[in-house]
């Protein structure tokens, strides 16, 4: 009798323990799936592939499967914060990940701070996410606005052009891209001069008028930050009006397949861009990724696919290395964590929790009626950071505890 009740008690105790052992690790994921599907759907494909690979290899922490609960924020930070709170309090997510838009990333990072939950941001570009508004719970994978502007400023400095014009969507991303680019180019080339600025409203570029205004300033080179629908309009109209003839153009993100593919035969030759020449990267780990991705989805990867895949692989690495899903342990592990990615080794900097994932810098060319990147090189993110002292000044002290 006594033995039996003991066994019963032991059994009861063991039950939740055993259950805990196989309990999946829950990642709460949020992105703007319905509003910017061209970018977020390939991104989702990427992380889904990562999760499948991780689980097929037996999961993490001795057999615990990775479970992702994914939510669509509809492009609204308010909806994202509600999802984040639901994921934390109802779904008991161990950590949060994802987001595409900068303001959504910031909103979720604020929830992460308040709830003391880890948040690994995938795609938002804003510098504020790890600097001015950074907090110790937020890490970010993709190279920031500053980093990409720095890569392009380096190339721009090599050009003979002395007079520059800028065109950028009038909101935070466009504003900080232009500010960073100007500052970094002037530092390398004190002789350059910025002679015109155009600030079209996001999604409402009046292409003809804007192009004529740029041409009127007769700049030798142009720095472009427009993207998406604005970019296509800008390129076609610019080609028609001859804006790019005899002018160098340096352009943010335009080499990413998400933005490059829709340009088709209008792709402007010679633009210097940051991007992802998926069809030409020969490295073994990228080749493996490329083949697996094409096999799984029947289409070629976009940059978002790499970002999604890499974010979740990095999270898995961190959990593996921390041996736990405890937030503090994960933060400790992620700070300075080195991960192998399809673009090569990447470190999450302890200083500002930004990864050193880089981007490819090259020129656009037209082949068989579609845009490609040529003469490209991989710009390692670690080489395009401001001095540590600058980062320390911008980042809140609490974030660096």
């Amino acid at each position: 009798m006594r033995m039996r009740s003991w066994a019963f008690v032991v059994g009861l105790l063991a039950l939740p323990l055993a259950a805990a052992d196989n309990k999946p690790i829950v990642i709460g994921e949020i992105s703007s799936y319905s509003t910017v599907p061209a970018f977020t759907v390939p991104y989702r494909n990427g992380w889904q592939m990562a999760v499948e690979e991780i689980n097929a290899a037996g999961g993490l922490l001795g057999g615990r499967k990775l479970e992702v609960i994914s939510r669509d924020d509809g492009g609204k930070p308010d909806d994202a914060t509600r999802h984040a709170q639901e994921l934390i309090s109802s779904q008991r997510a161990d950590l949060l990940a994802g987001t595409f838009l900068s303001n959504v990333g910031l909103a979720v990072s604020d929830i992460a701070l308040r709830n003391k939950v880890l948040f690994v941001a995938a795609e938002p570009l804003t510098d504020a996410l790890v600097w001015d508004k950074g907090n110790r719970y937020t890490f970010r994978l993709r190279p920031s606005t500053y980093m990409q502007a720095a890569m392009l400023a380096e190339e721009a400095a090599k050009l003979p052009a002395k007079t520059w014009a800028t065109v950028a969507p009038n909101y935070e991303y466009g504003q900080s891209a232009v500010a960073n680019f100007k500052e970094l180019l002037k530092a390398r080339r004190p002789d350059v001069e910025f002679v015109a600025e155009q600030w079209p409203a996001l999604g409402k570029l009046d292409a003809g008028a804007t192009i004529q205004a740029l041409a009127a300033a007769k700049p030798e080179a142009i720095f472009n930050v427009t993207f998406g629908a604005d970019l296509t309009k800008f390129v076609r109209e610019g080609n028609l009006r001859g804006l790019f003839e005899g002018r160098a153009v340096v352009s943010m993100l335009t080499g990413e397949p998400e933005y490059l593919d829709p340009l088709k035969d209008e792709t402007p030759r010679g633009w210097i861009v940051t991007g992802y020449p998926w069809d030409q990267i020969k490295g073994a780990s990228h080749q493996r990724f490329l083949q697996a991705y094409e096999k799984r989805y029947g289409e070629t990867p976009r940059l978002g696919s790499v970002v999604g895949y890499t974010t979740f692989m990095a999270i898995a690495d961190a959990i593996r290395k921390a041996g736990s899903t405890d937030t503090e342990k994960l933060i400790g592990t992620l700070r300075g964590l080195k991960v192998e990615t399809v673009f090569g080794p990447v470190t999450f900097r302890a200083l500002d929790q930004q990864s050193t994932l880089g981007a490819f810098v090259g020129r656009l060319d037209l082949k068989d009626g579609r845009g490609v990147m040529v003469e490209w090189r991989y710009a390692d993110g670690k080489d395009y950071m401001p001095p540590d002292a600058v980062v320390r000044k911008r980042r809140p002290p609490e974030a660096m505890r």
Binding site: T81, S102, P200
Partner: protein, 617 residues
């Protein structure tokens, strides 16, 4: 000089596209009085259809013939879609309140967005250049695209064709008659059903053509609907609703101002259109060429004209609901509490809109302005000046109310859709300031706006919200049934008689506008502290539309309408959003269903079905 000429030409080409879309919108509104939010969707469908049809036909018929046949077929197909929309949906709800059809067209917008995504996929699609117009011509030493010259020529051609249609055909005469006085036309025996269908078809064809002709200019994309519809509305309102020539002049004005604005104020391009609209409406309350139209004499049920007073049963239901809400934290988890907090706050936002819409009879398309003003006031005070939450909650309604009074002084001089569009203009100006300038945090918003420690937990903040919102709702209710509310209703129902009895109608409406703004501001502040951050989207058009949808869904005839509408809409949206990728289509479908089943709003229709509570207030 050459630059000015080229810039003027660019402006003309932009104006032509605007005119096509706006004239369709204006024609539809003139006759059916429908504020067709789905007009942008028709434009987007035109572009997508033109992309596919021209690709297909160019392969079959060769480049020029295939391309242009594709454009024409796309416009015609959009006309058929418009006919389907009219026959299956709008026709069933003409008897409902004027604004109610807006809700239906909003449902169509959501469904079309997902349908286009499902059919054409997620990537932007760029068409080849238009055959025959692939290059550029030299004008005063500058290259100018041939295709733009074609568009520039097309504007006056379409204007002339429409003029002929309206002035030289019997159908056109009937349409003009109906635009002037719909009821009289009906009384004279004109078959309105047929007239309405044909008008919607014509408007849709114009929208579809506008979209189709856009494909050589830009890649067709999933944001086309939203980006055109607001601008088109602005053009229609500037020109005068129902006036084709007015729309033409307004399109020229907007096109040129945006072209030259790029030269003079490159940072202000977003606000320029709305500034122009505001200035025109302040000077000419019916737009450039518009005229006041005969108002309907027999208001439909569900238009807020049949507002009910309290009955003991209603009072009991109200107390029971409050008690249930007060007990909620005992049963519900943290997330449910957060969700209900959100609903309660949004219900106050909707109630303030309901007050001005139903009691005041003033339609606002920019109610988010006051909500956002409240949110930004409290967030800026908290983060910039370190003002504690209580100060923010006090300052927000004051600031929002003051702003609403300021803007309301201009708005309440107008009526109907003009007033609605002026409120939208102000809201858009505020939104662009918040979105583009850095002192508001720009698109990155304001973070770290959390409540004070004494209401730091979800439960406590919930009770604070419930207390403030319930008290506000009671104040609004009191105002509705006080002499002030009766005076407002008198001004709404019969302005002339109200004036004759000595009521200063404009003053009452102006104060009502301010009161509604103040309560929306309080809701905004509560929302800011609830979310912990504020972003420009609290000032955006979608926020204003959400408010309208919640109010209309609930019904204008009952003070409890906004609460019911908010609960249904917000819960539906959050739940559907969690469970399906195509949540917009499902949500739009549900809205369409609700519109058809409850043509007077949920509460209004339920009251009517139950037959009780028929006490005139």
């Amino acid at each position: 000089m050459t630059l000015l000429l080229i810039q003027a030409l660019s402006g003309l080409s932009h104006a032509a596209t605007l005119f096509l879309v706006a004239s369709g919108l204006s024609i539809i509104f003139g006759v059916t009085r429908i504020v067709n939010f789905a007009h942008g969707s028709l434009y987007m469908l035109g572009a997508y259809l033109a992309y596919s049809l021209s690709q297909f036909l160019m392969a079959k018929l060769g480049a020029p013939l295939g391309f242009w046949t594709g454009i024409a077929l796309a416009a015609a197909t959009v006309g058929l879609i418009g006919a389907a929309m009219e026959l299956l949906l709008l026709r069933r709800i003409y008897q409902a309140a004027e604004l109610f059809q807006l809700l239906a067209t909003f449902g169509v917008v959501l469904v079309v967005q997902d349908a286009v995504l499902a059919i054409w996929g997620r990537e932007d699609l760029l068409s080849p250049r238009a055959p025959g117009f692939k290059g550029a011509v030299e004008i005063v030493g500058q290259r100018f695209p041939q295709y733009h010259l074609l568009l520039i020529a097309l504007g006056p051609v379409v204007l002339a064709a429409l003029w002929w249609l309206f002035h030289r055909t019997r159908w056109g005469t009937l349409v003009r008659a109906a635009t002037e006085d719909r009821e009289m036309t009906g009384a004279l025996g004109v078959n309105q059903r047929w007239l309405f269908t044909s008008v919607v078809v014509l408007g849709s064809v114009l929208a579809g053509l506008g979209g189709a002709l856009q494909i050589p200019n830009e890649a067709v994309n999933l944001q086309m609907d939203v980006s055109i519809v607001v601008e088109a509305f602005a053009v229609v309102v500037i020109g005068g609703m129902g006036s084709i020539l007015g729309a033409f002049l307004a399109a020229l004005l907007v096109g040129e101002i945006s072209a030259f604005g790029v030269l003079l104020f490159p940072k202000l391009t977003l606000v320029l259109t709305f500034l122009v609209m505001a200035v025109v409406l302040v000077i000419r309350p019916y737009g450039l060429l518009g005229r006041p139209f005969a108002t309907s004499t027999a208001p439909a049920r569900g238009s807020g004209m049949h507002l009910h007073g309290t009955t003991p049963r209603l009072r009991l239901a109200g107390v029971a609901l409050l008690a249930a809400l007060a007990l909620l934290p005992a049963f519900a988890g943290e997330y449910a509490q957060l969700l209900v907090t959100e609903i309660v706050i949004l219900a106050l936002f909707a109630a303030s809109l309901h007050f001005i819409l139903s009691i005041g009879g003033l339609v606002s398309f920019g109610h988010a302005a006051w909500f956002g003003a409240g949110a930004y006031t409290s967030a800026l005070l908290a983060t910039r000046l370190g003002v504690p939450m209580a100060g923010g909650l006090l300052a927000a309604p004051l600031a929002a109310g003051a702003l609403a009074l300021l803007v309301g002084w201009f708005c309440t001089r107008l009526t109907g859709v003009y007033l609605a569009m002026l409120t939208l203009a102000f809201a858009q100006i505020l939104w662009s300031v918040a979105f583009q300038s850095s002192w508001t945090g720009g698109d990155n918003g304001i973070l770290g706006v959390w409540p004070s420690v004494w209401v730091g937990s979800a439960v406590r903040y919930y009770y604070l919200t419930l207390l403030l919102c319930a008290a506000s709702a009671l104040v609004l209710r009191r105002a509705a049934f006080a002499p002030f509310g009766y005076a407002l209703r008198a001004a709404r129902d019969s302005p002339l008689r109200a004036e004759a009895t000595g009521i200063d109608t404009r003053r009452r409406q102006w104060l009502g506008f301010g009161l509604a703004g103040a309560f929306a501001g309080l809701a905004g502040a509560l929302y800011a502290f609830h979310k912990g951050s504020v972003f420009p989207n609290v000032l955006s058009i979608p926020q204003s539309i959400d408010g309208l949808v919640m109010v209309l869904l609930g019904g204008l005839d009952a003070m409890s309408g906004p609460l019911a509408g908010t609960a249904v809409y917000h819960l539906l949206q959050t739940e559907i959003m969690r469970s399906t990728q195509y949540w917009r289509a499902v949500l739009g479908g549900v809205i369409l269903l609700l519109v058809l089943v409850f043509p007077q709003g949920i509460v209004g229709s339920l009251q009517r079905m139950l037959g009780g509570e028929e006490v005139k207030g």
